[in-house]
Amino acid sequence: MLELRNLSVHFDVSKRGKGKTIVRAVNGINLNIGRGEAVALVGESGSGKSTVGKAALRLVDTTDGHILLDGVDITHLERGRQMPLRRKAQMVFQDPHSALNPRMNILRSVAEPLILHTALRGQALTRRVIELLEIVGLQAQFLYRYQHELSGGQKQRVCIARAIALNPDLLVLDEPTSALDVSVQAQILEFLKTLQSDLGLTFLFISHNLAVVRYLCSRVAVMYLGRIVEEGATETVFTTPKHPYTQALLSAVPWPEATQPKGHAPLVGDIPSPVNPPSGCSFHTRCPFARERCRAEAPTWRALAPDHLVACHFAEDLAAS
């Protein structure tokens, strides 16, 4: 469905007279998402996960590599010719409040993609919007309300209704529940899960919340400083993480339980700057197991098992110890 081949996204943030400053947000990542799959992209802020999501929908320009959607190369699709892409792939953003135009009522907001892409108008358009609102569990009474009259959960439902208005195949969800309270988050997650199985949607789910990812996604890719460091089936990665970064990330999540798991030592320090990433393995500055080779040589992306890939020189040794 979606194929990212050696994708890199660099941003030039140079200031005049100060030399070149390049932010290497995404650095040669490969990711395949099959039809109907829910794949998660996790990592700390600054790892480049949101940039991958945006690049996949051509919202930012790629520096290198290719993006294939349904086998069609869309890497250099110009703005004026993106209409067919928008019918196939849509995005839901983190903050539903800023994703909805405050001057449009809900009817207009949800109808916007239908007006742009279809011939639906008048009564038929309104009927379709009501249908869409019903899918996301909102009643028709919301049609003429404005976003400020809705709660956070209701707004996110409206955003989802708008995203699925054109029956897209792929939905990129960028932290869709992190602005919501847990009781509302649970409703949205349940709803997304049924939506995915009922409509056969493909999800690229971007999140820093590992518990949410474990609940919703079947496959997970862990990003660190613009690279994917581990990828595999969700249960495999969560139960037998091989990359030291994944292990640290998992052990940092507090459990909603009286007794906390005895995990690995917490990571020290912060994520380095993507302007000047460390040599070799970019994780070596924070890795408790770093050795000489990690500073010199970037690890290759290799398969430990058919569906479990990792970028670490010593993944086997770490697993054994």
Binding site: S151, S183, H208, L250, W255, L267, D270
Partner: protein, 338 residues
């Protein structure tokens, strides 16, 4: 509970006068904090947890807020009536607070050092004259504080501006600033919400470490049950301005007493377990301009019964667990409903 509580909130009620009417934000909150304890206050947006915490330090502007009744006793002294002058003497010296977004609480145009030294010098007014620090000593104290929160190169960081630090480092600076007056009580209002999980783990470890080092008691406010579970010994669950449950962490996660707590626990996805089903809590918060009579959770509660139109007291259940739900009324518990 033989210890004398350090802080005791009794029947605290607070309302906001707004153009839309009277907003009943806090309605009869009761809890105690014993010295050396870390207490979590959890609840969803709008449940009154932050307002309660800010009220302890007198940080809620009045008007629009109005204290209707109750007491907030700190070492037996009622903070609601001591007046601004006394509160100033307590802030930072006896009770300190850290907040969610560390950037907002640091001034972007002054260096870390200037801000820390200012705070330390401001505290000197309340100290006995022979113990007062001068500016140079305050600077040394600032360096000492920064090293105690494990900020690398504390001396150099004094000359850094807030934007040069990462979110985790800023939160360390704020913790150093809060503890520079050597307070007995630290109130942490969502201290890790803006941080990544790895940094969150560092900050929570740091708070736990400093509790021992500074002989601190902590009130941690969070919406994240995991965060509370990893730092606190006891938890107060708030809903719509009321305390619905007060229990030890062990008890809360094994035998949640209130239907709201039970719902909350079912709504949280678990990072350590394979996907199971989640259930949200249907409905929304009641309108606090015109709250329902009796239990404020009744409209969303699966166990609602006629009795719920009367306000449930905090029934003692077991092991110090107290639950504000009529299901735990003595006769109901005999019938085995819970």
């Amino acid at each position: 509970m033989t210890d004398q509580p350090l802080l005791s909130v009794r029947d605290f009620r607070l309302e906001f006068d707004t153009f839309d009417g009277v907003y009943r934000a806090i309605d009869g909150v009761n809890f105690d904090l014993i010295p050396g304890e870390s207490l979590g206050i959890v609840g969803e947006t709008g449940c009154g947890k932050s307002v309660t915490a800010k009220s302890i330090l007198g940080l809620v502007p009045t008007p629009p807020a109005r204290v209707v009744s109750g007491q907030i006793l700190y070492n037996g002294e009622d903070l609601l009536t001591v007046g601004e002058e006394r509160l100033r003497a307590l802030r930072g010296v006896e009770i300190a607070m850290i907040f969610q977004d560390p950037m907002t609480y640091l001034n972007p145009v002054f260096t870390i050092g200037q801000q820390l030294v200012d705070v330390i010098l401001a505290h000197q007014r309340w100290r006995p004259s022979e113990q007062r620090l001068n500016r140079a000593q305050a600077r040394d104290h600032a360096i000492d504080m920064l090293s105690r929160v494990h900020l690398p190169n504390p001396e150099r960081q004094l000359d850094a501006y807030p934007h040069q630090l990462s979110g985790g480092m800023r939160q360390r600076v704020l913790i150093a600033q809060a503890l520079s007056g050597n307070p007995r009580l630290l109130i942490a209002d969502e201290p890790t919400t803006a941080l990544d999980v790895t940094i969150q783990a560092q900050i929570l470890d740091l708070i736990a470490e400093l509790m021992g080092e500074f002989d601190l008691s902590v009130i941690l406010i969070s919406h994240d049950l995991g965060v509370v579970a990893s730092l606190c010994q006891r938890v107060v669950v708030m809903y719509a301005g009321q305390v619905v449950e007060d229990a030890s962490v062990t008890r809360l996660f094994s035998e949640p007493g209130h239907p709201y707590t039970q719902g909350l626990l079912k709504a949280v996805p678990h990072p350590g377990r394979a996907a199971s089903t989640l259930s949200g809590i249907p409905g929304t918060l009641p309108n606090l301009y015109d709250p329902p009579a009796g239990c404020r959770f009744q409209s969303r509660c699966a166990h609602a019964m006629p009795m719920c139109t009367t306000v449930p007291p905090l029934y003692a259940v077991a092991d110090g667990q107290r639950v504000a739900c009529h299901l735990h009324a003595p006769e109901a518990s005999r019938a085995g409903v819970a």
